[in-house]
Symmetry: C2
Subunit: 223 residues, 2 copies
Amino acid sequence: MSANDPFIIAVPKGRILSEVGPLMACAGIEPEAEFHDESSRRLQFSTNDPELQIIRVRSFDTATFLAFGAAQMAVCGSDVLMEFDHPEIYSPVDLGIGLCRLSVAEPADLAANEDPRLWSHIRIATKYPNVTRCYFASRGVQAECIKLNGAMELAPRLGLCRRIVDLVQTGSTLEENGLVEVEKISEISSRLAINRTALKTRSGAVNRWVERFREATSATLSG
Amino acid sequence: MSANDPFIIAVPKGRILSEVGPLMACAGIEPEAEFHDESSRRLQFSTNDPELQIIRVRSFDTATFLAFGAAQMAVCGSDVLMEFDHPEIYSPVDLGIGLCRLSVAEPADLAANEDPRLWSHIRIATKYPNVTRCYFASRGVQAECIKLNGAMELAPRLGLCRRIVDLVQTGSTLEENGLVEVEKISEISSRLAINRTALKTRSGAVNRWVERFREATSATLSG
């Protein structure tokens, strides 16, 4: 990859996309119109900057494209950054969007009858097995993780496990499924993440974008 | 889980769902109306049979819910069954739906200039790292797999890797991205899959459903 190749920013599909648009606009990035059409199957988009292109990929894949240098920059959830913990990724700016938390939840009747301080081995359904194992290991609890890509909230009801670790925004999904949040593992937000090799070989462009996103985030947060 | 608990069938969201509906109808299963509404966020549905419930989960999660006994039966892509290769799952009926193939693809210019018989180490982006590694290992080729959940076709263009292993239906997505199919790893279809413990403890219900799906498949294929 040379300095003449386009500079690529990876952004996640889904939930965050509606928040990413205004922030990018504030940082001076205007994607071509089709980018805002969530039903479009296209993956790569041009912008008002002829050197900058956007790829729109799944939340978990933003970190993979970035870590292997297929993107130089990404909007990446801190949940994804924690789960992959890749040495090639540096994430200097908290963008203040995609706010939620990563929490442990369990059925309400279980929560009323058990003391978490007495756990030694637990089975947990989660999209975040690495984060979950580390979190519980630090307390001396062995967490056996069952990796699910979605529908975590079904797992306790169907006897797959008694507990889940999942993103929680309003808590309504948990409530609808008779689950209660018993522990918060981490507050989550999206970050501007950078490929470390790009930071060395294309530092001019990287630093310019980091600065613009910092300003856009301050403007958005104070506005 | 006792014989009085509901009998649960897991079906995959997305692409296959429109083919699963008619087949289930032919097997005598009529889900409640909301099941057919793909925009509904609900995950669990009743049917005309008071003992049978349906869960609608991601394609890769059907096998996980089944393997851990949270579902007794599932409609499961053979791609997913190959990737997980779980000893608790038995898949007796080829349902003849969700037909596609799992293939190796690469940029057209690469395909014209390289002989696959000369590969020793290759890097591949795929949703199927286990299948891919096994397939190439059997030929003495070491495949370094980069796991992506989607947008595989972007990877060669952005320099993540030169080759991908992905599901191919019509080939139009590959073509739009300048890729050609160079090897077929396997023909893919959906299968009726069973949890082996359920096969022992609830054999009456399991055998009845297997028989009904077998008949429905024959009727659909010959119809």
